[in-house]
Subunit: 266 residues, 4 copies
């Protein structure tokens, strides 16, 4: 069935013949395998440009920062899935990735769009503090959350934030988006009436945008990072299972609020 | 509901309090962010051990080798999914990962188990050639494929194989499993009656096992690698869509073999 | 980790002890198995209310209407996934379901919200034609598509539309939302300048809302229906595979628009 | 890329032109919508044959029996996924379906293969009790579980079993596979030394095979049934969320068994 106008598929990422696999214009086997790190290659796949030292260090830092934080919901979902279907590792990893949504992990992208938007307002002549304040006010008026600020556990600044900012500074990245992120953090108590400190999901775009990472690929960073962690958890699950124990614990205090038939004892 | 004996979940990967995130005994923010590459961190998450230069180079090489090979079925499935559901990048990536199964991409793990099994036979005193020959004969008798040998496009040796073997040699990895893999390649024509050359799915475990990578985590390597490539394809799909064009082309020569109602014109 | 305010999970759908499984206040084994159809049970799970003849007939008709339409993109994605990972039927079905998104299949829900919104405008005293016209104008001004109108193959009215409308009429459903849907169809050429006829995705909410189906569960109808079809396709794929043939055909006219290394011949 | 020998995709399920959608030889809009129940249509999609009253009642009963059993692991995984990614209902349902694996829900298929195998032994002249006993002994010797027997909650016979058996009897289904299932139940204590009573996963194939349902489609029954339940849970999750409360409770007694940095207080 013809859906949309385009009928000829096009791609600029890769082609191949029997002897050569071409990726973004390079010969995979001659130019890339053994000569580039996986992090550099991820950037190269995304942009077609070779990474420099600054980009690589910043991207590595963000991938390391967001990969693992214990038995968070997506990891629990994946471990329960693996316990039920241990023959299909790919299914358990997929279940975990499906939890990278707008509420959890997806905030890296929405926070990035926010920072980028403030940057453009400043380019147009507004002061940074005014642009930040107005942006927070608008979100508040629309009853939307401030993506990348506040954390259920880390009430002071999420400790990953400073680690990322230091890395970016040392790596020589443009610190402009970090300054924007901090201006938003400063504006929040004036509008919301309480502190919501920077968390890792705003810090990731703050450092990546300063290293030239494309805004539209930001959501891929937590997805790729979390995949590494999910694989490690599935390896542990295969050796020391806890998927069913998690689901058992989860319902120990379950409150059934529906009706029961006459004579039923819970 | 209590399923299985265990009711208390256990993990050795990560714990945290409000100030510190612990991963495998290290402080994530003090010891890891900005100081370790994503590839090293993947190994560390899996094993709790720091990577050395040999391991890192070999693991990087395998991740780069298997990430991208054009519009293979899993990438097509993901691009079609993204075209239908562009709001959920995670869903499109998950659909692509679900195609890392026993037939495609999953062969890295089954090939690794095969090489490991031959290694143990050699440890028990059998000659390498005899062990390889017998293993191929057994698979043949059971009408099973030889995982990691033969490729639909690369009829001579998959070009990624030599690139991986060279990298492993230069990085100082133990070449034992490479020798085993080549012994199997040599045995195949004697049993099958035709050449099935080493492909990337046998080369990956051959070099990784020689660098101390855990057998049980082998299937994670193509899954993690492919995730990077899927994200790049979804970025391209968002800018230059081809998911629906692929599905249109796919059915241009579709043969409908069922019945039709009276008077129906196809 | 505590995310959000609520720490005690609650549900009103089901509870059980060693002898009895309670669903929505009924004893599953005494009151439901053998006494209710799957379609009725789906409604009962969603709403806690028993289906009447009208609701059942309308819901059955919509599930039958949307389940199957040949090798559409989500079915292709699922068949490619099954071909690559035949051991995990659940993964292939999941891949297919992931293609029920905002562009494909998800329109049932957005169209339902649209019809519901017009109904409320009419309740507030506006004429049906004015409310329909204004709604189409607003969508047009926001450069949004009209969900549930136009079809890549069925340029005249999608044939499923009349079949659903007749069934609803015969089953005694409230035809109010059907009239709204037709008012929108009439308004479209005045605003857009060309006919975009009703398709199945607007007809489904038009008949379901008139049978008391909850708006918020509308997206579940194509998902459940498509699952039945995906299972049938996976059974066929296991007996007469075409997943890889589809991916082969899809790239026969692929246009590689990227660079190649010196000397590369495609 | 050409994978496998076949390059022309074939299907016998559906074709269409601008006016007519053909499914299994029928005109969807003339012959099926409004005239067939969803359960009948599922059978028709799978087999191309119209359901009779016996088949429909038995299939309805099994779909109703297996759809819902409270906050089981797959439902928890789906609710956590929905809480994290509420914009993508299809992703949450997919995550739940991914938990229909070899350990949970998938047993319907493996139990069906078992019953079918015993039936063939009886056809070949063995007594039912001997065939059942031998089959259990073989599984025991291979240290495999007996699929469809024993249940974590329902230690006496799973109450769904008798409900399904009564329905099959009343519907006039062939009770042969029910007798086989009961022969296995009788053999188990002689081999295992303890009672493992029939559970729903053996009862489903026992009644379905007696109603002519194809063995190879058995795994689709719990997948389709569970999809209906998952949609109901996601509707509840959207109105009264508990996904994050489940993940909070799940880790209240989590035992971290790894190392911590000097000075870390948990």
């Amino acid at each position: 069935m013809k859906i949309g106008r385009e009928t000829t598929p096009k791609t600029a990422i890769s082609t191949s013949n029997a002897d050569t696999i071409v990726v973004r214009g390079k010969d995979l086997c001659q130019d890339l395998i053994g000569q580039t790190s996986f992090t550099d290659y991820f950037l190269f796949l995304l942009t077609g440009q070779a990474a420099d030292e600054t980009r690589r260090r910043v991207l590595d830092a963000t991938l390391v920062a967001i990969a693992e934080h214990g038995l968070v919901p997506s990891v629990q979902a994946a471990r329960m899935t693996y316990a039920a279907a241990p023959d299909a590792l790919q299914g358990a990893v997929a279940a975990g990735i499906l939890g990278c949504g707008s509420v959890i992990l997806g905030a890296s992208e929405t926070a990035g769009v926010l920072l980028d938007d403030i940057a453009r307002q400043v380019d147009d002549g507004k002061s940074l503090d005014a642009a930040a304040l107005e942006t927070v006010k608008t979100l508040r008026a629309e009853r939307k959350p401030i993506p990348g600020y506040g954390h259920p556990l880390h009430k002071a600044r999420d400790p990953r934030v400073n680690a990322l900012f230091s890395t970016a500074r040392e790596a020589g990245a443009d610190m402009r988006y970090v300054e924007i992120a901090e201006a938003v953090e400063k504006a929040i108590p004036q509008v919301i009436g309480k502190d919501l400190k920077l968390n890792v999901s705003a810090a990731i775009p703050a450092v990546l945008l300063g290293a030239g990472f494309p805004v539209k690929a930001l959501k891929g960073v937590p997805i790729l990072a979390r995949t590494a962690s999910l694989i490690a958890h599935m390896l542990e699950e295969s050796e020391q299972p806890c998927g069913f124990a998690l689901s058992y614990q989860a319902t120990q205090n379950l409150d059934y609020t529906g009706a029961v038939p006459a004579g039923y004892k819970g």
